[in-house]
């Protein structure tokens, strides 16, 4: 039953994708090594690098668990309890994905200027990134057959113990995937941390590029980020486990009976209200306040046509980037789900590495490579789309991996035994099964591309303007009224995308 020939074809494509994804490393690593071992050690073994390591570590150690706890708790309340207005909460809890993290940081700094440093950084990143955990966990909790849980209850376990023993283990792939995304974003996060005056490797790399005039120091710091990323990837592999999530069985799957909240209803509502206020109301309210100031002064100097043109360019790039990243993730994810081996695992892990690097590092590396080896693609839409695919592959990969894990391989095998060939199986069996997760991956990448700054600035064709660039330009001039329309447009564009994500949770399997 091994479809070895098609698997080999997919493996070749997956290897090609992995090769493209690690292209930036071909520039970063030689540049880091260019000073020689002693020079590198001199640079890295400094108190400041120790401080950066501590800061980066602190952020990951606090934000990742916080995002897991908040995301899981919220998902459980919405999907498994008799929470009033669950549908509304589901949409509101996903909505922070529609607000660019740096807009949210701007908002927090203007609402609470005293809240800087580690506390502010951890708060804003947690609020911005918990939906990465909420989304897959909610989808899984809703789809998960409650049968095991009920059996556990009938055998005398308490409700809590039944959840811990039967539901939590099933959540492992969703939790670890979400945690991995949060970690990668934290490693590469710049805008929020700079606003919050909290220095990590990424902010230090940005400074190095702003002040320094050799790439070596920036590349050395970037290499440390790569090591941290490898560490995170190894940990996630251990955390995910190998338990099967897919289910094939006779009869219809049952929907879990919602747990009654009783006296806990009010605290639960209060918890969600606070979470939504902090993660959504603060940034959206601030943008609305800027927008109110913009009505007379800002819009006069802001031709609506200009805003539309910028919006259209952003949309084109977001859609192209999202399709590229999703298509690139598909072979690796499929290979991992169906032919798990050392090689497929390596190919998948390789695609995560570059995304832990700040955009400026990936951007300048691609400038070097394109100028030296592929001059015709330099400053074309094609190159910036490749950069988006490299930077945001993990968002697609994590979603697809979860979707394929939940799609029973037996169905493909049955299709093949009935005479379907490889490609036909893909189109008629696999894709329909994983369509929701393909859509999720695509949407998550599109959201990221729509707010990307540095790689766009370095690689997009001359004359390209995006909402994020326009916002950043005006905000950098302290001109919040003029920046507001761009921020508002980014949020408006993202709302339908987050509604698509909501469908992913609601999708019945």
């Amino acid at each position: 039953m091994r479809a070895s020939s098609s698997a080999r074809g997919v493996a070749v494509v997956a290897a090609l994708v992995a090769a493209v994804a690690v292209l930036p490393l071909l520039v970063v690593i030689p540049s880091a090594l260019s000073t020689g071992a002693s020079g590198a050690l001199d640079y890295l073994l400094r108190p400041r690098v120790g401080r950066l390591l501590t800061h980066t570590g602190m952020l990951v150690v606090v934000t990742v668990p916080a995002a897991i706890v908040l995301g899981t708790l919220a998902a459980w309340l919405v999907e498994r309890t008799a929470l009033p207005l669950a549908g509304l909460w589901r949409a509101l809890l996903l909505a922070p994905l529609a607000v660019p993290a740096f807009v949210s940081a701007y908002a927090w700094v203007s609402v609470a200027p005293w809240m800087t440093g580690f506390g502010g950084a951890a708060l804003v990143t947690t609020l911005a990134y918990y939906p990465f955990v909420f989304l897959p966990v909610a989808a899984l909790l809703r789809a998960l057959d409650p049968g095991d849980e009920e059996v556990a209850r009938s055998l005398g376990l308490s409700p809590a113990a039944a959840v811990v023993r039967t539901v939590l283990p099933r959540l492992r792939p969703a939790l670890s995937g979400g945690a991995l995304l949060v970690t990668l974003h934290l490693l590469a996060e710049y805008g929020v941390l700079e606003m919050m005056r909290f220095q990590t490797f990424t902010t230090a790399i940005m400074q190095q590029y702003a002040v320094g005039f050799s790439d070596t120091a920036g590349s050395l710091l970037a290499s440390v980020l790569l090591v941290l990323c490898l560490l995170a990837l190894a940990l996630e592999l251990l955390a995910r486990g190998r338990r099967r999530v897919a289910r094939v069985g006779a009869g219809a799957q049952q929907r879990a009976v919602p747990a009654a909240l009783g006296a806990w209803t009010v605290p639960a509502l209060l918890f969600l209200a606070v979470l939504v206020t902090l993660s959504l109301a603060v940034p959206v309210g601030t943008v609305a306040r800027w927008l109110a100031r913009a009505d007379l002064t800002g819009l006069a100097g802001q031709p609506v046509g200009g805003l539309l043109r910028v919006t259209l360019a952003t949309l084109v790039l977001a859609v192209l980037g999202a399709l590229a990243a999703t298509a690139a993730a598909l072979p690796g994810a499929w290979l991992l789900a169906r032919h798990r081996s050392g090689m497929s695992l390596t190919l998948e892990r390789l695609t995560y590495l570059s995304s832990a690097l700040p955009g400026v590092v990936v951007g300048l590396a691609l400038v070097t490579l394109a100028v030296g080896w592929a001059r015709p693609v330099y400053q074309t839409v094609g190159l910036v789309v490749i950069a988006y695919a490299i930077l945001f592959l993990p968002r697609a990969m994590v979603s697809l991996r979860a979707g394929l894990a939940a799609a029973p391989p037996e169905l493909s095998e049955a299709a093949r035994s009935l005479g379907l060939r490889g490609p036909a199986t893909l189109v008629r069996v696999v894709l329909p099964l994983v369509a929701p997760s393909v859509l999720t991956g695509t949407v998550l990448v599109a959201l990221a591309v729509g707010t990307e700054l540095t790689a766009t600035l370095l690689l997009a064709p001359t004359g390209t303007d995006t909402l994020a660039l326009a916002f950043w330009r005006q905000a950098g001039e302290l001109n919040y009224a003029a920046a507001a329309p761009y921020a508002a447009m980014m949020i408006v564009l993202s709302v339908p995308l987050t509604l698509l994500l909501r469908r992913q949770i609601l999708e019945e399997r």
């Binding site: 606003m195 702003a210 050799s214 120091a217 259209l312 859609v319 369509a435 390209t464 303007d465």
Partner: protein, 342 residues
């Protein structure tokens, strides 16, 4: 459910096709156009745009602007080398231009253009010219400190009594120029001592604006910044500067350093005449007036063109005399690295 799902997927797949179809016209902005002057600009977008528009109106030569930031754009031009699409490069601070100059990528600026700018506003090499200037200032909170309590030299901030009382943004290109000026003026030993004090004693902010706002909010009594952000805020709603005033060090002090925004023509330009014309326009009285009218509050550098009347005259600032080409960025980076700032 499946039909709905398919419709949704079809929609997602169709969007790019639709967009590229409708985007046909908008696409023209997506490629460098032949015969159009390519300006790589790290200057404030509004200023460059105003210059380009006025230049096109005056000469009929069209220009396209590529936005960037000092250092990454400088790196980018060096990577592009002789095949760079850029004709003109404009920076906020001169060290990024020096990087391009050292890579041998700049053509000499027309002597007539250099003759239009004030003395000392171009490097001795003549490879680029100043297009605007900004002065280092000490911003202070009027409620927390009196003018007579302010330091007489920026070097005094290194003294123990100022520990924890000053703010700066050492991580940006702006500050790098200030350190470069100090290094050229005071030498390495004194600069190192001052930077050590900075890394121990100063509160670090991400940029000039954040420093100014922190001083305004009373987080620190004084901060180092460039002058024009303050004047812009004062001309606007004063949200970030109402409680503050500016102190000019003067007397040739490193704290009176004037940083030059630079303009240069790429040796590889395929429109060298037009590129030289652009620099000539920017530094002419008409071009310098565009700078003033843009509201940027930067100093003009052309002869016979007045800066914004709100600013104290550039000549009265008594800035230290430094040849901008000697602003040695490698040493700057190494002293800042050793001080633990980078």
């Amino acid at each position: 459910m499946p039909t709905k799902r398919h419709a949704l997927l079809a929609l997602v797949l169709a969007i790019p096709l639709l967009l590229t179809a409708c985007g046909g016209k908008a696409d023209s902005g997506f490629t460098p156009q032949a015969g159009v002057l390519q300006i790589y600009s790290a200057q404030h977008h509004n200023v460059t745009q105003a210059w380009a528009d006025a230049f096109t109106a005056a000469t009929g030569i069209k220009a396209q602007i590529r936005d960037g930031e000092d250092s990454s754009m400088g790196h980018m031009i060096v990577e592009e080398g002789k095949t760079s699409p850029a004709d003109v490069f404009l920076t906020e601070n001169s060290p990024a231009m020096t990087v391009v100059e050292r890579a041998g990528l700049l053509a000499p600026v027309d002597p007539a253009t250099l003759g239009q700018v004030r003395d000392g506003m171009a490097p001795s090499t003549g490879k680029w010219t100043a297009i605007a200037a900004r002065s280092t200032v000490l911003v202070y909170n009027k409620d927390l400190i009196r003018e007579d309590q302010l330091p007489t030299s920026m070097m005094d901030l290194a003294k123990p009594e100022w520990a924890g009382k000053w703010g700066a943004a050492p991580g940006g290109a702006d500050f790098q120029a200030i350190v470069a000026g100090m290094l050229a003026d005071r030498g390495e030993t004194e600069t190192r001592a001052w930077l050590d004090a900075l890394s121990r004693n100063a509160k670090v902010y991400q940029n000039n604006i954040a420093t100014m706002k922190a001083v305004n909010a009373g987080e620190v009594p004084v901060g180092i910044m460039y002058h024009y952000y303050w004047y812009r805020d004062q001309a606007g709603d004063k949200q970030g500067s109402a409680n503050t005033a500016l102190h000019y060090f003067g007397g040739g002090d490193p704290g009176a350093f004037v940083s030059l925004s630079a303009g240069g023509v790429l040796a590889s330009s395929d429109l060298p005449t037009q590129a030289q014309q652009f620099l000539a326009y920017v530094t002419s009285p008409a071009g310098q007036k565009v700078l003033v009218d843009s509201g940027s509050k930067e100093y003009v550098v052309g002869k016979g063109a007045p800066s914004d009347p709100a600013l104290p005259p550039l000549d009265s600032l008594d800035a230290p005399k430094v040849d901008p080409f000697t602003l040695n960025s490698d040493t700057v980076v190494s002293v800042m690295t050793d001080a633990g700032i980078l």
